[in-house]
Amino acid sequence: MPVLRYDDVEVGDQVGPVAVPITRADLVRYAGASGDFNPIHWNERFAREVGLPDVIAHGMFTMALAARLVTTWAGEPSALVDYGVRFTRPVVVPDDGTGATVEFSAKVKEKLDGNRVRLEVSALAGEQKVLGRAIAIVRLAGRLA
């Protein structure tokens, strides 16, 4: 059961921001765990050959990190019932010992029936939005009986 209760949430409530560093090692680990071995996510030479500025993070990795923010807030991952994003810009991850940092935040936009709330999620790499139309529908715990 989600920890968070529907009645305790208001439209406009903010989640985060949380800054998440992303290094090449993270991308290699994610490639292995997900099975997505597209070389644009680990091979700089290949990435440049196909017109990218450098190695980029898997969009699904960014999507996973954004989900983590929401499920941690709800207190239970299965509270997330619907989740969708657009990948608007790549997260470029240079091999410079620092990598990239993405700042995630979310805002409650609407309270729906069935103890559900709609959140809009934001993911920024520097000034750039890397996710667009990122919407999470979360089913929270109801009233105490």
């Binding site: 059961m1 292995g32 099975g35 996973a64 990190l65 983590r68 991952p77 299965s78 994003v85 990948f87």
Partner: protein
């Protein structure tokens, strides 16, 4: 070359079952840096009302990407895989995925269009148990950059 519109409405036969394993879930949770005990500890998962450890929300990509590969690499469709980027992704969860699930995936082609020289393919993956219980629906928009029409030399590189 624009993609063949006649692919819209096609479906690919359900994949062989994917058995969701506890250690694969743990590996995925580690890779996304999520320490939630319901991904790792069977007792914590049971206390939260699940039959076993559950998978993080985007874990189904492990299953649906594999199933989708049959479509993306279908030589008849002729998609240039080297120019493919992920445009959009969504998941609608009917229930959480948990360890021990044996899941089958059917991939549907919901749309094909061209915009600004890109081929844009919309797919839907219906993931169920072997017994047909709906588990989740995943939708993806896949963009092949600059493949819809002849591009001037040097464009996009």
């Amino acid at each position: 070359m624009p993609l063949d519109q006649s692919f819209v409405g096609r479906s690919y036969p359900a994949s062989g079952p994917y058995e969701v394993g506890r250690e694969k879930i743990r590996e995925f949770a580690d890779a996304i840096g999520d320490a939630d005990p319901v991904y790792r500890d069977t007792e914590a998962a049971k206390a939260a009302g699940h039959p076993d450890v559950i998978a993080p929300p985007t874990f189904p990509t492990v299953i649906t990407m594999r199933a989708q590969r049959v479509l993306i690499q279908d030589p008849e469709l002729g998609l240039d895989y080297s120019r493919v980027v992920h445009g959009e992704q969504s998941f609608q969860y009917h229930r959480p995925v948990h360890a021990g699930d044996r899941l089958v995936t059917t991939v549907y082609v919901d749309g094909i269009r061209a915009a600004a020289g890109n081929d844009i393919l919309t797919t839907r993956s219906e993931v169920t148990t072997e017994d047909g219980e709906p588990v989740l629906t995943a939708r993806a928009v896949i963009v092949a950059r600059g493949t819809a029409e002849q591009q001037p030399a040097g464009n996009g590189s």
